[in-house]
Symmetry: C2
Subunit: 573 residues, 2 copies
Amino acid sequence: MHADTVSQERKRIVIIGGVACGMKAACRLRRRDPLADITVIEKGAFLSYGACGFPFYICGMVPDYKNLMDTPIGAVRDEAFFKNVKGVTALTRTAATRIDRHAKTVEVVHLETGKKENLSYDKLVLATGAVPFVPPLEGRDLRGVFSLWTMTEARAVKEFLSNTMVSQAAIVGGGLIGLEMAEALSKLGIQVSVIEKLEHIVPALLDKEYALLLTRYLESKGINIYTSDAVRKFSGSDTKMLTSLITEREEIPAQLALLSIGVRPDVTLAREAGLEIGQTGALKVTPNLQTSDPDIYAGGDCVENVHRLTRKAVYAPMGSTANKHGRVIADCIAGDDETFPGVLGTAIFKVFDYSVGRTGLSEQEAVKLGHEVMCAIVPAPDKPHFYEGARPIIIKLIAEKATGKLLGAQMVGPGDVAKRLEIAVTSLSHGGTVEELSKLDLAYAPPFAPAMDNIVTAANVLRNKLYGKSRGCSPLEVKEKLDHGDDFIFLDVRSPQEYEQMRIDHPAVKLMPLGKVRSEGQSLPMNKEIIVSCKSSLRAYEAQLMLQAQGFTNVRFMDGGILAWPFELKTGS
Amino acid sequence: MHADTVSQERKRIVIIGGVACGMKAACRLRRRDPLADITVIEKGAFLSYGACGFPFYICGMVPDYKNLMDTPIGAVRDEAFFKNVKGVTALTRTAATRIDRHAKTVEVVHLETGKKENLSYDKLVLATGAVPFVPPLEGRDLRGVFSLWTMTEARAVKEFLSNTMVSQAAIVGGGLIGLEMAEALSKLGIQVSVIEKLEHIVPALLDKEYALLLTRYLESKGINIYTSDAVRKFSGSDTKMLTSLITEREEIPAQLALLSIGVRPDVTLAREAGLEIGQTGALKVTPNLQTSDPDIYAGGDCVENVHRLTRKAVYAPMGSTANKHGRVIADCIAGDDETFPGVLGTAIFKVFDYSVGRTGLSEQEAVKLGHEVMCAIVPAPDKPHFYEGARPIIIKLIAEKATGKLLGAQMVGPGDVAKRLEIAVTSLSHGGTVEELSKLDLAYAPPFAPAMDNIVTAANVLRNKLYGKSRGCSPLEVKEKLDHGDDFIFLDVRSPQEYEQMRIDHPAVKLMPLGKVRSEGQSLPMNKEIIVSCKSSLRAYEAQLMLQAQGFTNVRFMDGGILAWPFELKTGS
């Protein structure tokens, strides 16, 4: 069978968007259908780049923007590469301006020449991505104010940094990308401020105590964090250069401001074509990733996804999801009944030496959805303490109280967070329980994990709570009790040496090392509430059991101990 | 309720074995039952140590053997610690010599004094562990010949190394612990040889091509590997010092020999007490970890486990499993119906810069069990290639052909193997399929993973094969065809530059870069079998599809490409 003899039967596929989902769909489709006529339209100048690599390009780790478009063997993914190697026609600087669903054509404009053209399709793929949200603030067009979403913008920021003396920068929006950029700029020797409108940073991903732990860490790295504050305007010099940001409470001097307050799905074309838009504002698609027009597929950052736990639509743009979408779309166009099962809202990022990850529902989200939840917060080294390079991580697990089903996980620390996060992701995907999690035959050797892996221990701590064998108290609740001056004993059962080194400084705190709780516990007042704390919460839990055995009925341990305490600690004597 | 008032009702618990399972059971039971009388009998001098840390103690990373018994805050876990902090009586240098199940007593001997004593129990826990297998070879008692299983042995080896000039060492047995020790000794500047009786190293864990990949790596690190060879005797000097090992084929000079040919469950006491021993030679236990006597529990290295996939009994001693056993036993004694679900045969180890992991069934095991399997071998960097420190890993997935169910995984390489292994472990535990694996919402950011994680790509490669969209050929089969002089075209579709750098040197190899396959493929003979290879197998797979589209019907790609080729490669021109 020769290509020429069947040219009239060739499927014509037009794909709008040539970064992640679009290019994946194109290449996969070429492999599935060697004869199809595949055209990718990309309004930008660049194809198939790793937008998640921008912070590493800005800070200089990635020396050239072209590295973000290389294949692993160093070939640049440009139009010629896609033509010669992949057999795909890719048109850059070409914008799709109108879809005629009746005629099955897409009107495109070649941006360099202004020339218009109509492309016919049998199947159309929308991979139009997202656009950064830009608030309509005064001074938005000053030099030094940037969004950072496309390769063109990334190159513009890089150029600005090399041509301009930037000693202070502000990141507007304390989300994942904002924090990655904060680190990148800080590594260039720039003093960085982060401004977040909501009560804590990373509000879409992390529970409050995790955001506060991260805030404390970032502040220790010299980043200024302003929360519950919003930018009112950008101030500039006579030469139209940014000089400061005026917020509701501050004036923050900055020569560079990066807007990182989220993105919106780019659905203009789809909306104009009458395709159904979901409640999230993104395109609604079937599990086969078909839009409301069965000849039009859509994937990547312009569509909404089903949350695998709640079955509700969510907008969770991710490069990893976009690539998976591209593959599903290609397989469906090739005739398979391939489906995309949805997302868990998994996210991970690295700032300085900390890794931060989350998946499933946060405690806050779970409560809002009506779940009665129970959580555990468990800090521990990620390897046996005797092994070189063991570093702590703090795992929070969130479970449904009645069923013991895992609902979500959050993790932070300098240790190996990613591995434990993927265990939680895989468990959640299979509807796993905390008990199942605690009994996984995980891989043990000292270079990789303690004999009881951190997530196994965290699951066991949570099982103790779920089964009523222990009673915990979140650090947020303890902080509230301390602030309100509640009458309780905050019993620290660490050694006097540990206490001297680092402690929560409050009159309610009483030191009684664990070794004495068994013998001297009776000296504590029976009628007062006792909350026990230690370094990680293991000794506090043991003390709780000892005190209960001595007849105390109102004892709890503080989740996560000093290591997970997200507020100020006093060090030294 | 005061402890004294109920002393006559106190449960008496005797635990034989004070390392992993035994001590975990004791401490957990103390937390579950504040009143129980808990006595641990340990015939060795040390309690609760991390035996998996011995290689790191031998090589000097762990400076003191006591570090292997510390708690994370530096308290040594000795008899006083267990008494004061945990409320557990631990007797070291005390051997259990007889169990009287009728009288419910254990006869013990205090080894220092020779004094005998009978301990009564309500519940007895056997955590007697394992003993290293020592072959009855001539010269076994020469100075310099050691097993390395207990802390006492580890200290003896360490002392021997500091008192004796050891320039050459031999490891008898090429399993996981043997290889860890090979690295430890090599780091001390010692020339190390490993002698393995079977056809390849790590025979109990790895498929042949993985063992060969590892062999090539270890040889590049200066380790001598002898396979299909067995030690006949140890030769010594007049002063009874080891001088060499005589094998079936070699004389290997060595001043130190470590026997690492496996361990046997220590079931002497249990057998004498008439408890049921399983087919594996280890103690048979119920899911509650009860032996055939319901008042006697057993866990850790002396019991057999159910394999979670095959439901067959296996002997798979592991520190991680022993700890989990201890917790289940304590909970059952405390009155819960707690169960242990079995193991997957998960194992991981690090040698030099390579991590090596496996879980579930190997291809060989699966075939032996009658499964019709399909495998994929997929090498790729563990992070986007543009990210600093991206390092390759090679993932092998093994699936059941008819159902697409994942059966096992093997992974090797300098990159982050552990994370992907845990994903496979969790998936296998939930009966996951390769399709489910390919659609997990794993955590993506450049410091942690490529947008399509390695295991997602591996799952997709395997799905292509399972659904007949591609046809692979294992490197072992290719090697056989080359060795037998089969008439086929071994088409290398990499660039000429890559070919010059490194290639399989054989007359059957023909170079045709992928970019030319579409246009020049027709020049290949239609009637010959074609096997396509490239660096990782992605381009080879694309070439296979291109050639099929041109009418070729007998084309396969070689699994894993050059990166996973476990035999010799020619470098340079």
